[in-house]
Symmetry: C2
Subunit: 291 residues, 2 copies
């Protein structure tokens, strides 16, 4: 078994990005600028946003964190979005999800300028992805494809099983894996809560992407020997023995599955860091697109 | 075996549309107006466009056929598109594909106002479909879902195998079958030219959508007893015994497959008429949306 070491790959990509930023500086070109909008004080969201800002600093991007209070009105949040759309210095921005209950997430999503939507969540970008047109790919699926690519995982003609049909991971993942692309061309089966005989389907998979959000959902007896397993799950589980009070569990039972598969992502250190560098790559692409 | 009789279902839907047009007339509301752009003299394209105009007449819609010569420039075609976008009387329009080689289809597609894109091909509408938002669904996949619905075919938890990943049939079909919807919730496997052991995958399917464009691709020994089979293919094959000089073949070997499955669409008279009524339904929805 080999680790699909997202942390290590992400470090390489950050170095590549840093080089490109330096090259841009030497050519007097604009430094990429990513903004992140965080509403409220959700612990996990704060951690994610902080990691994104930190990554910007590491590669030399400009970054702006817009931290708004939990009780901001939808109207005022839309006003913040509009300011970001109009600000020529901001090349891309994300609105960290989930948003508070009183705010309509879809309305916010639709307000983001597709040209600055580096998360790739706007319908126009989603549609362009589906039609295999140039666009911002959603960061997590994009990061997974990059991870497969950098590890030279053969995908063409393989049976990929995607567990979970979320709009930000499972569904776009199924699209990217099937498309006619050097790291696509899989036969893809998309499974979800209504799927019957999920064990049997998983056992037939050459590649499994687990994105159901259920800790240790994928067990050893569900995986074929030699399969490639990507674990997107990251759930905080209470753990009094930890200083933080919790530990992080993926959707894959690592101990059982790792002994059977050929490649597997760890949690943490697998998909998470790849998501962040994908966001950086999209932000750089946004600046380049304007040139 | 029962026929999924698209012709019969389409007649029912046309009657429903006709009733709605008459109701609109009595309320002095706008009559839906569909336009079709046809470039050149491709025989199949002319047949399709004529069928759409005829269907408009049948249900009482206004229709406009814009027939342009094969040698029209891309620039002039874009000008025609812009006129349709700006014409408030046109509620929806389609540009019949394929277009001549010298015209960039994607450029034309992107020029269509998404609010008039009743074919559902514009990236914005494709993305909205994928995100399960209100939109114009692409006519053929929409027609197939309606056909399943009107025949009360249970889909939830079933294994649906889609053959073909085209942007206008296979890929959107896979999206619609997986979504959380009364006639969705399938476990979907999307197969294409790079798929290995396609026979085995088909044999595991409860529902098969054949959209590969290869006459009689699906044979009897590839289908499980009791499966539901939808044939999207329609290929003209030379046949000297016919007055037209050709006959139409689907992607399914009807004789072999029909003896094994529970439901099957005929060709012609299956998916084709459903595609046309879906276009009509989208055009009506377009008028209603503006009210």
């Amino acid at each position: 078994m080999q680790l699909l070491d997202g942390l290590s790959v992400s470090k390489t990509i950050k170095l590549e990005l840093k080089e490109q930023v330096e090259k841009r500086k030497s050519e007097n070109k604009k430094i990429p600028h990513l903004a992140a909008v965080l509403v409220g004080n959700n612990g996990a969201s704060q951690t994610y946003v902080n990691a994104k800002v930190k990554a910007c600093n590491e590669v030399g991007f400009d970054s702006t964190l817009i931290h708004l209070t939990e009780d901001i009105s939808e109207h005022d949040l839309l006003f913040e979005i509009e300011k970001l759309n109009l600000n020529p210095d901001i090349d891309g921005y994300i609105v960290q999800l989930p948003l508070p209950q009183h705010i309509n997430e879809k309305k916010i999503l639709l307000a983001i300028d597709p040209m600055k939507d580096v998360d790739g969540f706007h319908p126009e970008n989603v549609g362009r992805m589906m039609l295999n047109m140039k666009t911002f790919l959603p960061a997590t699926p994009m990061g997974i494809i990059t991870l497969l690519e950098r590890n030279n995982i053969e995908t063409s003609g393989k049976h990929a099983v995607v567990l979970g049909r979320s709009h930000i991971v499972g569904l776009p993942m199924s699209i990217l894996l099937q498309r006619n692309h050097p790291f696509g061309n899989c036969t893809v089966t998309l499974c979800h809560s209504k799927t019957k005989n999920i064990e049997e389907i998983c056992k037939s998979a050459d590649i499994i992407i687990a994105a159901v959000g259920i800790p240790e959902f994928l067990r050893g007896d569900m995986v074929k020997a030699g399969a490639v397993v990507v674990d997107v799950g990251i759930t905080r589980v209470n753990d009094a023995s930890k200083k933080s009070g919790f530990r992080l569990l993926g959707d894959v039972n690592f101990e059982e599955v790792s002994s059977k598969c050929s490649f597997i992502t760890p949690v943490p250190g697998g998909v998470g860091p790849m998501t962040i560098v994908s966001l950086m790559q999209n932000t750089l692409a946004s600046v380049e697109h304007k040139e």
